[in-house]
Symmetry: D3
Subunit: 286 residues, 6 copies
């Protein structure tokens, strides 16, 4: 398992769930009408520029459907392709090739959409900063989407609420940042403790309190620059995250303001599907 891959158990379960969803109780009524001995080869082809992700899910879906279907990839997860690029091919009996097409494409199109959106932010932001995802993911698809973010050149924020501590204003009801950070270190020693900061005084307090990461929320690039200066002056090993209202247009300005990582939900929750086609040729028996 490399950094681009989702855990195998999650790929396996997601493929099983997606197939069950699409097969229904009677299976593919239409594919059942084609000759049992017809065979086909299908090309998987990008119809738009983008970054590919989700190949393991597509492979797994066909494997679960029918062991006689083979799937070969010319492009792996993380591959940057142009419209028209052949990504891989699927070969086997016509019926399961037809039946599995949509499930495979639904994974590929969505996850490549996530990877592509991530890649766009990565390019727009430039080399001095990393693009980070959020927990704003589609229910049940988080692990796959986070792998797609990595495929797109981004990096992952928390996988779940149990990864590390992120103190937002509602967690600070009645306590100071200093107290909250100390409490966090005491209860969860060794874990990253991040503090969401809306203004510069909070950044100062978070650094002093020993936070390992600060989240600058909805600040201007100028506010970010000031905050970063504070961190550097303190010679603290504090990672600076910027979030809130990030767009392809303004991400470079935040990057240049000195942020270490910039997070956006746009790359998961609102990433449009990448258009990928499935060109089937019946090879015999049809």
């Amino acid at each position: 398992m490399g950094t681009f891959d989702a855990p195998v158990d999650i790929v396996r379960d997601a493929a099983a769930r997606a197939l069950a969803e699409d097969l229904g109780p009677l299976g593919d009524l239409t594919a059942a009408l084609v000759p049992a001995d017809a065979r086909a080869v299908a090309d998987v082809v990008a119809r738009a520029d983008g970054v590919i992700a989700g190949t393991a899910c597509a492979t797994e879906a066909f494997a679960q459907l029918d062991a006689r279907v083979t799937v070969d990839w010319l492009v792996d997860d993380g591959g940057l392709v142009g419209a028209g690029t052949k990504l891989g091919s699927v070969a086997g009996p016509l019926r399961p090739v037809l039946t599995g097409e949509r499930t495979a494409l639904n994974f590929l199109c969505h996850l490549s959409g996530v990877a592509t959106a991530t890649h766009r932010f990565v390019v727009a932001a430039g080399d001095r900063v990393r693009i980070l995802d959020t927990r704003k993911t589609l229910p049940g698809l988080r692990a796959l989407e986070k792998a797609a973010v990595r495929a797109g050149g981004g990096v992952n924020h928390r996988g779940s609420l149990s990864d590390f501590v992120l103190l937002k204003d509602n967690h600070l009801a009645g306590v100071t940042i200093t107290d909250a950070v100390q409490r966090a270190h005491s209860h969860w020693p060794g874990r990253t403790v991040e503090v969401e900061c809306d203004h510069i005084e909070q950044v100062e307090e978070a650094i002093a309190a020993g936070a390992s990461m600060v989240l600058l929320d909805n600040m201007t690039p100028e506010g970010v620059r000031t905050s970063v200066a504070l961190v550097r002056d303190a010679r603290a090993q504090v990672l600076v995250e910027v979030s809130g209202g990030i767009t392809l247009e303004n991400v470079r300005a935040y990057a240049e303001a000195g942020a270490d990582v910039i997070s956006t939900s746009a790359i998961t929750q609102s990433a449009p599907a990448l258009d990928i086609g499935f060109d089937i040729a019946v090879t015999e028996g049809g």
Copy 2:
């Protein structure tokens, strides 16, 4: 269960899966740091114009998390709201209110995004046509997305491959439309049999063969108009679906060409999340 609702078992399973995904093995590290006796009320507020969907999932998520949390909705699924509208409120102990926020919003934002995108197509298309979804949905979320399409004023195409027959060109390898439709009626009597047609001769053959629905794929509005005329002339009860390259800009032209239903994957696979906020007020004990 009305037409807007997803089946209860699916809501229940989706909420359980999403919670498990977000709680992780240790639970919410951060919420565990706030006082156990603090209580909160949160307003769920639309931050953009749109149509709401997914309230049942949000309610279920909090119910599974902690029975002491109450969720009340001022707006139901299908409600058209403006930015700033308060949709409902969540009240209970601060910890589960904080912990459940993201899971609840992930459902609401995505499904309201689907409903909103659907609504936009419905409005753009006008009253003489219905907007139809496709099987291009996010893996594991189809039933919820199809309910959201209904909430947005759209209608549903096949829920799974076992719903009815849709003959595409790859299903017709080596057989005529006439033969294929007869075969479909013979194997699956009583089921809708739809035929994908790329040109007018196929429409003629499909009607004559007894198809109950034709899918006009990637035709111009003019081609659609001609096809519809054919159907009307045949006095056949054939539903005309138009698909392929539908946009908010051209959907009205296709509607005016006489289509009965117009389908697009844009309302599911590429619908951006609706921005919905969660404004928490700690009410006591914090």
Copy 3:
């Protein structure tokens, strides 16, 4: 996947559930007592005349139990056999052959029972009509039973409540058939809309309203004949289903009255098991 096959995911899950049910926490206490190196071959033999179904479930059960067991079928699903016919053979280590016998036979005997009962109705009804199943199936076994019905020469009614619309009298409380059918077409365009009719006036109204299928419930053959005449006169493409009190004795009369499809729960809910034996020969090491 052909028309006789159940969806692979359902076969896989059903086999897993059945094995778990039969293995219990300690496994097969008795098989554990035979020598580990003993090998066996078992003939699967029909002990009565019938139609075979469920071979995929039996194969899957042995595959899940022990990959060293091989299963070969001489007769496929849908095969009509006489008592004494060897259906296939199972070979491998004696222990898993003994352990898997009952699970495999429970699938084969029940599903072949369903296929056989269906076949009897198909033969009794004659060529002019199709035998249709219902939703009166055994809980958790519907998809397998519906595949067995197809193996027996029958066809499938709704797989679930979300397949198409079937308006019964309780759905018509306070509304006319005309209104209900229009409502159905409006909410679920493209879907089959069937109307249950107890008398001829309802048939007339259903046809006029645009129903695509009528269910003549508990009518006499004469009533059916009159209804069919109505449909033919209207030149409507309406499928006529007859249901209620159908037996092997009266099914031909209903067929001759002109029904298109005749449905009965007898083929699923009350189909007796087909007697199938498992003759084991220990080949070595015992």
Copy 4:
């Protein structure tokens, strides 16, 4: 949990699986068309004489579907009723009452069918013997069917292969009954060890070896009588089971031959459904 009840976890899972199977991805298309505010009361009525089983499954199905539906039983599992007897009532919003009807009845009709078939054998056999089920049950439904057997006055053989030891001829390949029984007692001390016997010499050996139960397979009543005499002479606490070819006609003869328990798969694998109706009255709002 009394002797008639199936374990709660199994009832819960079976109801969930059955509902998922029937709701499909879109839910009940037809029920969605009736007014949301309509309410109904349904009488559950036996349409044939029989013994009732499966009420807990029916109740659970409605509870999972909609908490507002109430289910009240006038007859409990094990109740012997005549055709026309009102068994209970279901009240609540019309939509879930309509939607849950079939799932609830599928449990009730099948399990009451099992209980009724059992009861018939119990009555036919008389008081001196107990009717026993087998492992020939429908895949995934064993625990529910075994509870239904108890409701019908029968008793349960092994629930799974891990319950106790049953040595059949294939388990004896190359070893004597004496050796096999000793091996069984050694590996699984305290467990029942039953030996299948085809002739009287095997019965003698099994008793001498210390078997706690003998299964007389396909013997005549006279053979059974001789075997029972052997057991009584040995003053051994050995339970005598008779199996193979048992019918309602011959069961009494076997009972009078002195068997302790008589087993038959007819009561599970081939029990016809008991006809039970669901008479809905719309009470308001329809």
Copy 5:
């Protein structure tokens, strides 16, 4: 499946659950950092004396993680080994070898711990008695622990509450042992009926009532001796179990007092893990 093996379905599910638990949403962050083409061989080595169990679980975990990993065992379940013994080896790509190590060892260390603890009691008790487990097992791990008990030379008491009848004092509220045993035989004919006895009068009554097993709870060895004499005098085939406060020190005394089986929860609920190491050598590409 031999007596040492746990049912395959349970091994499969346990491995899947353990992997999911350890992989988390992002997978193994650390293994993702090593070169994709590095390969490794790992020796599985006992670091303490003991009896091995759980090899099937370890093999299954690696198989589910990555089909390219091979696992070979030099020692099977039930093998008695000294510290330093090489138990087997794991070879394949470095990443999954690293990732699967902990899951595999968690099974091996715990289950070998159970087998080892069992073996110690077996040795201490001597040849005239068998060591029996209890239902005091770790939640979700019972079947695996019971297989480990068998690997350690012990035997299994009830696998679940549905195996056989064990009457304790709370089951006897208001009824005599005689009545309770008769009731048990009547409801569950053929099943073992065991009676827990705290004093000699109860043993007498249980024997007379036809119990097949008595559980002498917290008796002294002398009390056990008296009870055993009673059983032998009655010439009854009653198995005598001793339980309560059994230690490695006193187990021999109870054995010599004539018990047939001696049960203790120490071998499951409180068995310390056996120390087993995993020595990885990177073979290429690292």
Copy 6:
């Protein structure tokens, strides 16, 4: 959910799995023999000194078994109690009280055993250090055991491999610590990066490379003291973990050597069960 609590979904699933495991297909054969109307109250009582954990699992098990059973706790998770302390009471119908006893106790005894073992290390180590768990947990029980560690006063290391980076020697094949740490920060920015060190030079390199945590493996207390001095001299915010061969006897020496956290698998993998009793009194109807 406080720091002592396991996530609700995990408690729910664990209770369901444990109940299914213990109920078996036929349910509790013995409890079915007691009168249906008998009621009972049971005291849950500690029979040894220890710290309590797992009350939520016990409550959940009874709730799932029978909603009429009430469970009240006098001692919460984390409570330190002496032998004889009444922990809580369970009241309801006798049957489910009897049936649920073992499942509830299996959770309580094991998890309190973990909490108690943790507490012993906490006390032995003194106030200047925290006791940390490991990933050496029982398969399928990690989240519950980690909650029990918190209840015992300990803190949690990684919940899964996806929490943070821990570089061991096998991860360093062919690369320097410096390179590996930089790679880790680059791939997983913001995450804790811990480096396992066997000698002082590695500690120096890890600190210089920017590790946030060092794991001193199998060092002497003197080696730990030197390493800690290095860290303090570097004025780095590096957490020092000590692991390997920690016992109740030597833990204080390591604490005094300046470790921040000390980890041991003894508190999870080898924690003996805490002896907890369940004293039932039948209150009526027995």
